[in-house]
Amino acid sequence: MNAPEVFMDKPDASGRFGDFGGRFVPEALMTACLELEVAFNDAWNDDAFVQEFYDVLHTFGGRPTPVTELSRLSRHLGLRIYAKREDLAHTGSHKINNVVGQTLLTKRMGKPRVIAETGAGQHGVATATAAARLGLSCTVYMGELDTQRQALNVFRMELLGATVVPVTSGSKTLKDAVNEAMREWVTCVKDTHYCLGSVMGPHPFPWIVREFQSIIGREASRQLTEMGVGTPDVVVACVGGGSNAAGIFAGFANTDARLVGVEAAGGAAIATGSPGVLHGMRSMLIQDEFGQIEEAHSVSAGLDYPGIGPEHAYLAKAHRAQYEAIGDDEVIPALQLLSELEGIVPALETAHAVAWLIREAGTTLAPGTSVLLNLSGRGDKDVAQVREILRGAS
């Protein structure tokens, strides 16, 4: 008999989680990926680095974020719901955890500059923030369409001293911003770190980002224990690339908790995708029969990605986590319900996870089920869009 499998450990030497992951990059970037792996390994085993990472997240990033019992929503749905409040982290989402880690690593590697891709701008703002703090130069690639839709976030990054480059290729959105960041990284890899925004891309990025985000799950696990809740029955998080989900799952991967990732129906790589290679990784992708990548479509820019991090593809295949899809029409009511009942306006991304709870409460979620919801971000960035949508609907 085999020993029980340990989930969310280090990937294998080739950067694989089961069949997924790997390092499908141009030779020009191969060395940077290999060096990054060494540097991260070294840093993550260096107590001083780990301590600095925690310290910065504590004194600058606002960690630990609290766990809030959502009493009124719980009563409404007949569940016991606890929210991990990443919306209270600096810049308004879990994205800060990753960028604090990667910028500290950048400094440690002696590189004076970072580049990043961004969709709606959350990861771009977070990267610009962490770069400003360390005095690193920062360039953010953003689809031209997104720079228009999210002009305020462009300005916010500029305020933080970053340069924003509109990407005019392809669909002019997140997927193309990643392509362009990779292309640009080829030209400057010597003195520039690519600060990737989710648990995606070539090895070691999915691993690095998951490790930096795992602070969410570790904190939550400790907090639930302190609150006397113990291991929750369900842990649920929205999934774009999958970093906030990976971060919270990491605290519960080897418990009995049911792990649920919620994708946008228009970008549901697990539910509607198939295996493939994109952006340096083998994972589940939305693509046509010829392997051409399709554009994702979601009301929430942060879930508008045709792939998913490789470790999630693996957790799905290994039946350790389940992945569900929520359509745009369920998202706005979920955002409204949480706002009205709890005084927390969530990000549209996060509202997908709330919508799943609303849908399943009373059916697959028996009354009294305890749920840990990763409240990945605040909705301030989305308020104008939600207003337009509700106006259009009325």
């Binding site: 141009p26 970037l29 191969m30 030209t187 493939g276 029969e289 051409q292």
Partner: protein, 259 residues
Amino acid sequence: MTGLEVTLRAVRHRGRRAFVPYFMAGTSNEWLRHVEAAANAGADAIEIGLPFSDPMMDGVVIQEAAKRSLDRGTTLASVVGELASVDVGVPLVVMTYYNVLLHGGLERSAAMLAQVNVRGAIVPDLPPEESSEWSSACAPHDLATIYLVAPSTPNERVAMVAQRTQGFCYAQGRMAVTGTTSEEGDGASVAAAIRAVSDVPVYVGIGVSTPEQAQRAASYSDGVIVGSALVRRILDGATPNDVEDFVRSFRRALDASHE
């Protein structure tokens, strides 16, 4: 040794610097005529791009060509179908991204390509570490797997890549994706590094766009690959005759350099 390498070593043996133009398959009805014109004008091998939606290693010109081709409905199968109708007399090498081959089925893709006399494949997002499945699929069909060496590749790694590449070794002339430039690149040092550890033919590509640049590159390598400069002209409406003139100008420069 793959058939491709045998052929290309023979080119070198003849004292000739190889010229390898790149075409994106399916950009227009005439694309095969362009390929034929290039062969007529003295290309030693021809690179055929199979379009991918997310060409991570390509600059704006080839991105545009890929988009045009995809919009015209180009697929691996359609390209193979078209190639079946021609015999240009020089080896064909495809350049595409891994997902296109993967989705076609690796075995099936390799078999289809070999059927229409494709002799090798360049897959820029497939480094040696990830290519064992693809290589295995290619082996029965004598389809060469061609690797790149970049200016950033450290010496130990150059040895590994040069040892595993088949047909030729692609010396990346500069740290950039495909595209035209007037800058002097890193081709010389990359080629030298490869030559220090292997006698596989070394072709310089990425950033070679004029006959003068090609001449310089040929002085330290076995041949050059020209993509964006040619594709730009085709996107702008170049005829097969224009392509012939273009290739001839490189041919002349390379031959002159070697006299």
